[in-house]
């Protein structure tokens, strides 16, 4: 299929349709509303379910209901809306039914603003709802990845009966790039042995997140952790740039990852041996490759559009093996390549130390700009 110039949000919506999305429930919020608008037109014309819910709380619980029937179902929102969905997300996780959630992140906390941000990393990656659970989180940096990861999110959610997030941001969502959409997949009736839909001639089925006996809930928790380890073993994805001879490593996901790419190229032109690792699955986190890289680089710079959230996962992976530096732009500010470039140059020329909390020095630099 030919490439077309397509907006990130529209691309995710259409990709979901072509991946066999049977039901969508959502609520308008900037900067993701194009997802809802595209599906508002397309789903009914295909005879598929679309409801503009009364709130994100209702939307995620509609998703929960449809997910229990085993269809491909999705919602989309942006940061404040996803906060409202945390209740339903925890129930979906606890019931072990597959569902896809698109979060086009914006600046926060609170009402914040509608500019691109990455400050929902903790919430999505480490589970913002109550209880122990382990969502799959895919972070696109481009429109093509928005398409590919939306399709993948359905496959992974179903394969593991797990929550799958597409963690985008206002920049990737609003951006247009040439990209190729997949062909239309037929809707496949899956007849899962867990889905509800009227018992017919089989035994009745119950889908619930209740395990009133704590020992049963413990067993359910252990089973979910087992599933998670399976996911971690099989599904780690990332992209490497200029890493073969790198002496310094930059790590960034989504938009900050692609901004860092521009900076890394500029530094390469200046002869600095720096490379970039861009996690595509931020959960499962690509910690093994980071541990390997930490063995051979002199310093690591983590770049994010937040106060340093993925930074924690990098620090857990690397430990005290190598100095870690942080550069973040929270609140809806997108860093420019020049900002990251000068951070790389600072890292290369400074006498780096291994510190407990790289945010302290970063905050000091930010406050004394």
């Amino acid at each position: 299929m030919a490439k077309e110039l397509i907006k990130g949000n529209v691309a995710m919506a259409e990709a979901a349709i072509r991946a066999g999305l049977e039901a969508y429930f959502g609520y308008p919020i900037t900067p993701q509303t194009e997802v809802l608008e595209h599906l508002a037109r397309r789903m009914p014309e295909l005879g598929r379910a679309f409801v503009q819910a009364e709130s994100e709380v209702a939307a995620i619980n509609m998703v929960y209901g449809a997910a229990c029937t085993g269809v491909r179902v999705m919602t989309s929102s942006s940061s404040p809306g996803v906060s409202l969905m945390q209740e339903g997300l925890s129930y979906i996780a606890g019931t072990e039914v597959p569902a896809v959630i698109i979060n086009v992140m914006r600046g926060g906390p609170g009402l914040g603003n509608i500019a691109p941000a990455q400050s929902d990393y903790y919430q999505s990656v480490h589970g913002g709802g109550h209880g122990d659970y382990h969502p799959i989180v895919l972070a696109p940096a481009s429109v093509q990845e928005s398409i590919d990861l939306t399709v993948l999110s359905f496959e992974l959610a179903e394969k593991y009966r797990n929550l799958a997030f597409v963690l985008s941001d206002g920049s990737v969502g609003q951006m247009m790039e040439p990209a190729e959409l997949p062909p239309m997949q037929p809707i496949v009736k899956k007849n899962y042995d867990w889905a509800i839909g009227g018992k017919g001639t089989r035994e009745k089925r119950i889908l619930t997140s209740i395990n009133i006996n704590p020992h049963d809930e413990e067993i359910a928790n252990l089973r979910m952790l087992q599933t998670w380890f399976e996911i971690k073993k099989n599904e780690v994805r990332y992209k490497e740039y200029y890493l073969d001879d790198a002496e310094f490593l930059v790590i960034g996901f989504g938009t900050s990852g692609r901004v860092a790419l521009s900076a890394v190229r500029k530094c390469r032109e200046k002869g600095i041996k720096v490379g970039l690792l861009r996690p595509i699955t931020v959960r499962p986190f690509p910690d093994e490759v980071i541990i390997e890289l930490a063995e051979r680089v002199q310093g690591i710079l983590v770049v994010e559009m937040n106060q340093g959230q993925m930074l924690d996962d990098v620090m857990i992976a690397v430990g005290k093996k190598v100095p870690i530096e942080f550069y973040g732009r929270p609140g809806g500010v997108i860093p420019f390549p020049e900002d990251v470039e000068s951070e790389i140059e600072r890292m290369v020329s400074a006498k780096l130390e291994i510190v407990n909390n790289p945010r302290v020095a970063w905050l000091d630099r930010m406050l004394h700009r």
């Binding site: 039901a23 209702a58 929960y64 449809a66 179902v73 129930y91 019931t95 839909g197 889908l207």
Partner: protein, 259 residues
């Protein structure tokens, strides 16, 4: 011990729409009555194989164990949203929610109103016993003025704690609602009327005539601190004046249903 040997002598038996599981309800509570009316209706309408129930949070949280149909368990108040999700992808199936007053009229107010106004083709069985049962007798949005509960120990003071909510009257105003009635479970005559209403609600859904809800005035002997007989009397004397029984919405198409 009398042994019944002739089937024609059987005047009462367990509905086939029930599982063998015993309920966890307190003695004298009318949840069991409501369950039985639903089970009999599903059986009579031959819907057991194609029904999906949505259980609430509250005393009836384990309703899914008692009916021999597929069931899901919703978050507190979200049963109408979850039922919407199911019904939209399985429009030919029978989808009902079973909700108490805390679930439906307090935390789930938005979900029930919007399900009704969208005309979601689901049936809602709403048990109103004017108190929170599962958490141990707190004030409900439907508690009566002056009613003593553990969170209104001096009696519900309407100046401070507001007035009881009449859900059926409110929902009847929604254009998407096809059938909204209030019945009571406090005596046999009313129970029979309640059964008829539940049947009408499911018929409404199966004929695609929009949102249907049956509010059932119910007892909570345990948390009201009364014996079951006095509880039924309390429904009649205290609840009926605040919650009059009646048909608040019967759309023209529903009124033409014959079954």
């Amino acid at each position: 011990m009398v042994t019944i040997i002739k089937p024609e002598n059987i005047v009462y038996s367990r509905s086939h729409a029930f599982t063998e599981t015993s309920t966890s309800y307190c003695p004298g509570c009318t949840h069991g009555t409501a369950h039985r009316l639903i089970a009999e209706t599903l059986e009579e309408m031959n819907l057991v194989d194609k029904t999906i129930g949505v259980a609430p949070v509250g005393c009836s949280v384990f309703a899914y164990n008692y009916f021999d149909t597929d069931f899901v368990e919703a978050a507190h108040g979200r049963a109408p949203a979850m039922a919407t999700g199911i019904k939209r992808v399985l429009p030919d199936k029978c989808v009902f929610t079973y909700q108490g007053d805390g679930d439906l009229a307090s935390i789930g107010m938005a979900e029930i109103m919007h399900a009704a106004v969208r005309g979601e083709n689901i049936s809602v069985i709403f048990l109103n016993n004017a108190i929170y049962g599962m958490t141990g007798g707190q004030m409900a949005p439907t508690s009566l003025p002056g009613q003593k509960t553990t969170s209104s120990p001096l009696g519900r003071d309407v100046e401070l704690q507001g007035f009881p909510l009449r859900m059926s009257e409110m929902i009847a105003k929604m254009d998407g609602a096809g059938y909204v009635v209030r019945r009571s479970l406090h005596d046999p005559a009313n129970i029979r009327k309640a059964k008829k209403a539940i049947r009408t609600a499911f018929e409404t859904q199966m004929h695609g005539l929009g949102f249907s809800m049956v509010e059932l005035l119910s007892t909570c002997p345990t948390n009201w601190g009364m014996n079951p007989v006095d509880s039924c009397k309390w429904v009649e004397d205290q609840m009926l004046p605040v919650y009059p029984l009646g048909d608040f919405k019967v759309s023209e198409s529903v009124s033409e249903l014959r079954f």
